[in-house]
Symmetry: C2
């Protein structure tokens, strides 16, 4: 990437640190809206050369990119000579039907970089992730990694390699899938019973968080601050937009909360929601 | 740093990957000669904004930057508004007199970034290092780290923190200091007894390697390749220059060789040196 020249398209709403990293690298960053089918491909600037998407579980909305939109995106990339970074950050955990084919599976132009991580499937502290890249890009990626930090911690890499080789990670994912499914169900039940008046969960079939859209226009950042005072940690959907937020609401992570703590959290949140909505 | 604009001065000879990292970041990189007193401050381009030096143990030559040169360098930095990155990569291991004051100790303009690492004092696989930065630069450094990779592996950081808190690292360094001193003495003895005809060690008082200058102009890169065939791993001094090499010779690391393997290594190297010098 030539600093200062490459146009990079990011989903809006999206993952804020990603924008910072591309800006720091000198890229021109374009925030492209996300609709019910995923990234609005027809809103991509024509000079876009890098497109970052989260098709299996849009971050933060949680929705899945439709099959049609996947085709449109690959057509755009092929026609314009752009590359697609397919960030499948938590696709190991699925709660619905068979997933759609990954962009990389559908890719006929060798333009998709599939990115995975062990942050969700195992734990974030190990700082290990991977890229499945088109063959033409591998030498450049290896060189970039060498210049960035040489290599990752060898002890953690060796430990992870043993964990993978002995099948422990696959077993861990299967076990956690059951546990996360229980938490997710409990969370959706509580949202329905306690918060339906104010929050509407966005359907999703994967991952470790659920987004719920606020039925009224509220300051979701202020709402999050109020919730925190009661010991409830949620995130503001509005804080994940670069342009003016299209949706306001809350993100609920269930990767690090015990199933039996969810109901109490939602009861407290209900008090905050009632208060904030009364003020309107 | 504004990509493509900042002039960064690096020592020549120096550490080749450093140049690659700055070039990848879009900097204009200037290779500045090193003489017997250290970086030739009078050869710094006037527009230099970042100066990287290894004053306690020049890499790769092994020499120490003189007190006078340290003063000159700080005067330059202060006058030009430049920052100095003082890379003390292996200064924990000292074999001579009391060291000169670090540039950062002498710094009155808050322009020196002191960089240390656990790669040499402990082991490189943990990938942990640190920067002692002027207060004005800390928020930017914290932000840059967050954008680069979020954070380092938490488990390795916790383990290292415990090791430090319990005094184990200090004990480890004291123990290794004795072991490295033995290897270093043996290496210098063998260089004198077996290779004095061809190689002249550069005096140094710290670190985990010694550079020895070739008395005749030889292709040190080819010499290294020949040595490797006999199972001897050394590095070419000439490969560490960006401009035409001023010195040719070999680098001998003693961080990872047993003391009693050194003599045999040098005997084999002697055969290669005799062969290569006969060909001249």
């Amino acid at each position: 990437m030539t600093p200062g020249r490459t146009t990079v398209a990011l989903e809006d709403p999206g993952y804020p640190p990603l924008r910072g990293s591309f800006l720091a690298a000198g890229a021109k960053v374009s925030a492209v809206p996300v609709d019910a089918e995923g990234l609005a491909v027809d809103r991509l600037p024509s000079q876009t050369r890098v497109i970052c998407v989260t098709p299996s579980h849009q971050f933060p909305l949680g929705s899945v990119m439709s099959a049609r939109r996947r085709g449109d995106l690959l057509d755009f990339a092929q026609a314009r000579g752009a590359v697609v970074i397919e960030d499948d950050y938590d696709g190991e955990f699925r709660f619905g039907d068979r997933p759609l084919d990954a962009l990389q599976t559908l890719d006929r132009a060798a333009c998709v970089f599939y990115v995975g991580t062990f942050s969700k499937s195992l734990l974030p502290g190990i700082r290990l992730a991977y890229i499945v890249a088109p063959p033409w890009a591998r030498p450049a990626l290896v060189a970039a990694k060498a210049l960035a930090d040489g290599h990752c911690c060898t002890f953690i890499q060796d430990t992870l390699a043993a964990l993978l080789a002995e099948g422990h990670l696959a077993r861990h994912v299967r076990k956690m899938q059951r546990i996360y499914a229980g938490r997710r169900e409990r969370l959706l039940d509580c949202l329905k019973s306690d918060c339906a008046e104010w929050l509407d969960p966005i359907p999703s079939a994967a991952g470790l968080h659920i987004a719920a859209v606020s039925r009224k226009v509220v300051d979701d950042v202020a709402l999050v601050a109020e919730a925190r005072k009661l010991g409830v940690r949620v995130h503001a959907l509005g804080a994940h937009y670069v342009r003016r937020p299209v949706k306001r609401g809350l993100l609920f992570g269930y990767g690090a909360i015990e199933e039996n703590a969810i109901a109490e959290g939602l009861r407290r949140l209900r008090r905050v929601l009632r208060l904030v909505n009364t003020r309107l």
